[in-house]
C-alpha cells in the first residue's frame, strides 16, 4: 500500500516512480487517453448538427470548449516527439508549448464555467460582463511560467527563489482552478434557490474527472476533455425539449416540468393558454420577446402555447393577456390571440 501511494505521489509530481513497467504503462496510457479525448470531442461535434451550425450561444460556447480540448490534447501528444528532435529551435518551441499547455488547461476550466453559467441563466450580456476579466489569472500564470522557465533554463545562480517561485506558481494555478470550479458550484446553488426549473447539468460530470486528473497529472488534459464531453452530454438532455426554430420549449417539457414541480412540492402553479391558429411563428416571436425567468413558455402545436408560472397574481396574468393581444394587433399583418387563464389544482397533472 505504501509503495502504491508512493507511485501515486510520483505521478502527481510528473516524476518517474523508478518502476519501469509502471512508468511505461502510465506514459503510454496517457498518450492513448489524449488521443481518445481529442477523437471524442471531434466525434461529438461531427455528430451534433447544432454544434456544427453553432447558431445558439450555448453551441458556440461548447464548440469553443471542444476546440480548446482538441488543441491541448494534440499539443500534449506532440510534446514527446518534439523532445526527440535534436534541433536548435526545439528547446524554445518546447518551452513555449509548455506555457501554452498551462494556459489551455486553465482556459478549458474557464470555458466550462462559462458554459455552466449560460446553461443556467441563458444570458449572453451577463456572460460578457461577468467574465470580462476572468482570463487575467491565465495571463498571470503564463507570465510567471515564462519567467520560471527562463530562469530555470539559464541556470542562473538564483538560490532557492526558483523553488519558491515554482511552488508559488503551482499553488496559484491550483487556486485559480479551484476558484473557477467553486464559482460554478455557487452558481448552481443560487440557481436551485432562485429558479424552479430542472437544471440539465451535472457538475460532477466535470469535477470528478478534474479531481482524478489533478491526482494523476499525466492524465490531467485528457480527463479534462472527458469532463467537457460528459458535461455536454448532460446539457444536451435539454435539447429534446426545445423547438430549435423558436427556442421555446415543446410539449414534452410539460410532463418534465410537471414531474419536477411535483417532486419539489411547488404548489399553486398558474397556466395561461394563448392560441393563435395559423400564426405559430408570429406568436412564438412575440413570446420569445416577453420570456421572463420563472415563466415557462411551452409550444403545444397548432398555434397553441401555454405560459406556466408560480405564485403569480391575477393582475400579472391579465397584464400578460393584454400584452399578447396588443402585440398581435400591432403585428404586420395583425392577428387575433385567444387567451384562457387556468389555475392548476394540487394533485392534477399538467395535461
Amino acid at each position: 500500500m505504501g509503495t502504491f501511494l508512493e507511485y501515486v505521489f510520483q505521478t502527481l509530481m510528473y516524476q518517474p516512480t523508478g518502476n519501469d513497467t509502471f512508468d511505461e504503462i502510465v506514459f503510454y496510457s496517457s498518450f492513448f487517453m489524449e488521443l481518445a479525448a481529442a477523437v471524442g470531442v471531434v466525434i461529438i461535434v461531427l455528430k451534433n448538427e447544432s454544434l456544427r451550425k453553432r447558431k445558439r450561444p450555448i453551441d458556440r460556447l461548447v464548440f469553443g470548449a471542444c476546440t480548446l480540448v482538441l488543441t491541448q490534447n494534440v499539443l500534449d501528444m506532440s510534446l514527446v516527439p518534439l523532445v526527440m528532435i535534436d534541433e536548435p529551435w526545439e528547446a524554445p518551441v518546447f518551452y513555449t508549448l509548455l506555457v501554452v499547455n498551462e494556459m489551455l488547461y486553465l482556459a478549458i476550466i474557464l470555458q466550462w464555467l462559462i458554459c455552466v453559467d449560460y446553461s443556467l441563466y441563458h444570458s449572453v450580456d451577463h456572460i460578457r460582463r461577468r467574465y470580462r476579466y476572468a482570463a487575467l489569472p491565465i495571463l498571470v500564470v503564463a507570465a510567471l511560467e515564462t519567467i520560471r522557465i527562463f530562469v530555470a533554463t539559464r541556470e542562473l545562480d538564483n538560490g532557492d527563489w526558483i523553488v519558491v517561485l515554482t511552488n508559488a506558481l503551482h499553488a496559484f494555478k491550483v487556486a485559480v482552478e479551484i476558484g473557477y470550479i467553486l464559482i460554478a458550484v455557487m452558481l448552481v446553488k443560487r440557481h436551485d434557490k432562485e429558479r424552479r426549473e430542472p437544471r440539465f447539468l451535472w457538475l460532477e460530470a466535470f469535477i470528478i474527472p478534474f479531481v482524478i486528473g489533478s491526482l494523476v497529472r499525466y492524465y490531467d488534459a485528457p480527463l479534462l476533455g472527458f469532463g467537457i464531453i460528459f458535461t455536454y452530454a448532460a446539457m444536451s438532455r435539454r435539447d429534446k425539449y426545445i423547438d430549435f426554430k423558436t427556442g421555446l420549449y415543446n410539449s414534452s417539457f410539460l410532463d418534465c416540468i410537471g414531474e419536477y414541480w411535483d417532486k419539489k412540492g411547488y404548489p399553486d402553479a398558474s397556466a395561461l393558454l394563448a392560441a393563435s391558429p395559423g400564426h405559430d411563428e408570429e406568436m412564438a416571436g412575440i413570446l420569445s420577446e416577453i420570456q421572463v425567468p420563472n415563466c415557462y413558455i411551452i409550444e403545444l402545436g397548432s398555434g397553441r402555447f401555454v405560459l406556466l408560472s408560480h405564485k403569480v397574481r391575477k393582475s400579472a396574468l391579465r397584464m400578460t393577456e393584454g400584452l399578447l393581444k396588443d402585440a398581435a394587433q400591432e403585428a404586420e399583418p395583425t392577428f387575433a390571440v385567444v387567451t384562457h387563464d387556468m389555475k392548476r389544482m394540487e394533485g392534477q397533472t399538467m395535461k
Partner: protein
C-alpha cells in the same frame, strides 16, 4: 345633512380646492376610491375621504384600506362620511384599515377614533431627501454602466415586457396596480432600467407627485447580478436628478419594508420622517 357621492375620474377636478392634486390624479386607478360628502342645503363640500385598497390581488393576504386623504368641516360630517367608508370597505371585503396623515384637525381625529381607529403621533414612514443631498452620496461619484438607460429610450412594448418581468418576480413596489399603469406616469429621464440581451431586467421608476416632489415607486432587479444593477440604477438616477431637477426638489422614499429601511439607514443615516398621526383598526 350630507349626500355622499363617489369621486370619479370625471368629477375629481371638482375637489381640487380642498384635496391635493396628487391624490385626485390617482382616482380612476384600479384600487383607488374616493367619497365626497356634499351638504344638501349649501351644496358645499362637507367632507372628503380618499383611500387605496391593498392586497385585493393577493389570495393569501387580507385586504387592507389605507386612507390617503381625509378632511371634514366638523365632527358630524366626518362621522357621516366614515360610515359610508365602512360600507364601501365591506363591499371590498377589507379586513383592516390604517392611515398615516401629516395634518388632521381635532374634530377629524375625534371622528376617526369614534369609528374605531387607535391613533398616535409618531415618525412617518416617508423620508424626504433634497436633490442636493442625494447628489453628495458616494455612490453618485462614479458613472453608471452603459447597460442602464433612461426610461424614455424604451418602446411601449419593452416597458410592458419589463413590468411583466417585475410582476412575475412578485415585485410591485408601492403600486398594487403596477401592471396597469402607463409608462408616461413615470419621469422619463430620472427613471431608468437595466437592459440585458435587449430585455428589461431591472427598473427604477420615479413618479412626479407634484412639481418639486418625486416619489420612488419601484426598485427592481433580477437576482442575477441584482446588487450591482441596483447600484448602477441608483447612480444613473441620481445623476439624472442632478441634471433635471432643482437642488431643493425633494425625493420621497417610502420605507415600506425592511430592505428599504436598511438602504435608507445606510445612505441617509440619521434622516427621519416627518411627524405624522398614525391610526389603525
Amino acid at each position: 345633512m350630507l349626500t355622499i357621492m363617489d369621486i370619479t375620474e370625471m368629477s375629481s377636478d371638482d375637489y381640487c380646492d380642498i384635496v391635493p392634486m396628487q391624490y385626485l390624479s390617482d382616482i380612476g386607478r384600479e384600487y383607488f376610491r374616493g367619497l365626497a360628502g356634499i351638504d344638501c342645503d349649501t351644496q358645499e363640500l362637507g367632507s372628503v375621504i380618499i383611500w387605496e385598497v391593498h392586497n385585493m390581488d393577493r389570495e393569501q393576504a387580507d385586504n387592507q384600506a389605507e386612507i390617503l386623504w381625509f378632511s371634514a368641516r366638523n365632527e358630524e360630517n366626518a362621522g357621516i362620511i366614515l360610515e359610508s367608508f365602512d360600507a364601501r370597505l365591506e363591499y371590498d371585503d377589507v379586513q383592516s384599515s390604517y392611515f398615516e396623515l401629516e395634518s388632521l384637525r381635532d374634530e377629524e381625529i375625534a371622528a376617526l377614533e369614534k369609528a374605531g381607529f387607535v391613533t398616535r403621533v409618531t415618525e412617518g414612514t416617508d423620508v424626504f431627501i433634497p436633490v442636493e443631498e442625494i447628489g453628495k452620496l458616494d455612490i453618485a461619484k462614479k458613472k453608471a454602466e452603459s447597460y442602464v438607460v433612461s426610461l424614455s429610450t424604451l418602446s411601449s412594448f419593452q416597458f410592458k415586457a419589463g413590468i411583466m418581468n417585475s410582476v412575475y418576480h412578485e415585485r410591485y413596489g408601492l403600486l398594487d396596480d403596477l401592471p396597469f399603469l402607463p409608462m408616461n406616469r413615470y419621469d422619463g429621464e430620472i427613471s431608468c432600467c437595466v437592459m440585458v440581451d435587449d430585455k428589461v431586467t431591472g427598473f427604477l421608476l420615479v413618479h412626479m407627485m407634484k412639481p418639486s416632489l418625486y416619489r420612488v415607486e419601484l426598485l427592481f432587479s433580477e437576482k442575477l447580478d441584482g446588487a450591482i444593477s441596483v447600484l448602477n440604477m441608483l447612480r444613473f438616477s441620481i445623476r439624472a436628478a442632478q441634471m433635471n431637477c432643482e437642488p431643493t426638489d425633494e425625493f420621497l422614499i417610502r420605507r415600506h419594508n425592511r430592505t428599504v429601511k436598511e438602504l435608507c439607514k445606510k445612505l441617509f443615516p440619521g434622516k427621519k420622517g416627518k411627524k405624522v398621526i398614525r391610526g389603525s383598526r
